[in-house]
Amino acid sequence: MEFKEPQAIYLQIAEFVCEKILLENWKTDEKIPSVRELAVELEVNPNTAMRAYEFLQNREIIYNKRGIGFFVSQDAKGKVSVFRKQQFLESELPVFLKNMNILNISIQEIETYYTEFIKSNKPK
């Protein structure tokens, strides 16, 4: 049996922030919680929260206004998608493919499910 290992905490925090951005809880050019506020909310070390913000800043998902705080970048949603896609391809897809292989599921079978899924989940 093999489970997916938990991610480094700073990456989990980064994902939490990405989620907020994708769901538009935090909007473009809006100020997001300070490092300390986020650390308190998530009960993590502020240094770890800072590392998550730096990680997102490097990917231009958020930006820093010196002395004021962090803000959601223009097109943050697009950048989150790029980052999420990369993550999916690197860590989730291999597990998925491995299981397909073990369970002898053909790509055609998956395609059928996928087409059905797309049909029933049409974007509004």
């Binding site: 290992e5 480094a8 998530l42 993590v44 070390n45």
Partner: protein, 282 residues
Amino acid sequence: MIEINDLAFSYKKKKPLFSKLNLQLSEGRIHGLLGKNGAGKTTLLKLISGLLFPDGGEIKTLGYKPANRKPSMLQDIYFLFEEFTLPDFSIQKFKEIYSVFYPNFNENQFNEYLSEFEIHDNEKLNSLSYGQKKKVLIAFGLACNTKLLIMDEPTNGLDIPSKSQFRKIMAGAIDESKCVIISTHQVRDLDNLIDSITILDQQDVIISQPIEKITEKLCFKAISQNDTNDKIYYSENGLRGHWAVVENDKNEDSKLDIEMLFHATFANKKRMQDLFNNIKNS
């Protein structure tokens, strides 16, 4: 913030507890001090704060020799003990009497912490349970705003909601100028709070590294059952599958598991020391 060089200490002449212990702890971090029972964690904390005197070597705490117990050093140290007896005062009176020793004591902060812990300050200390007393001392210690905050098993005796409140309060209280040392066996309580780990064993510090340095060198992950190679430091079977601590040669990001690190350390003391000594040199 704290520098220890070649520290020697023993309670009994024939049984030295520390012989040549070296350790540096920096500010801006929450250091987790780990070790088996009797490894000398509490003794080390007492030496750092001037409650015990070294037999040899040198300790520097906040720039002072702690054995001199200079008031200017003591006003910047708060030590939360695991076992304590409190005077028969109300919380109010306790605050009035003891806060004068700490020039940075902040009364508003103290009241805020107390209310977060749901404790009323008109209560008598001795009418409180162990866990409640501890919460009063945690609130008081944090409100002292000392540069050095030492906590010996702070989460022992705290109920489930209090542990979460404790983590929130700690996350909000640390800043670049403060050094927090937490000695604990309850690593799961403080997993995401501690960001630097020191493991003590038999007169020696085996590891003392920030978490990001540890995960740079070691990877905590599931491996396949029949994987055996010399990169594995420790592995165990559990509900989560076959878990291991392995050398991080592929530069993977993983979540540090303190318990696993602890086991790995005791399974390969020498290797572990060498692995992290290289960091210092590089």
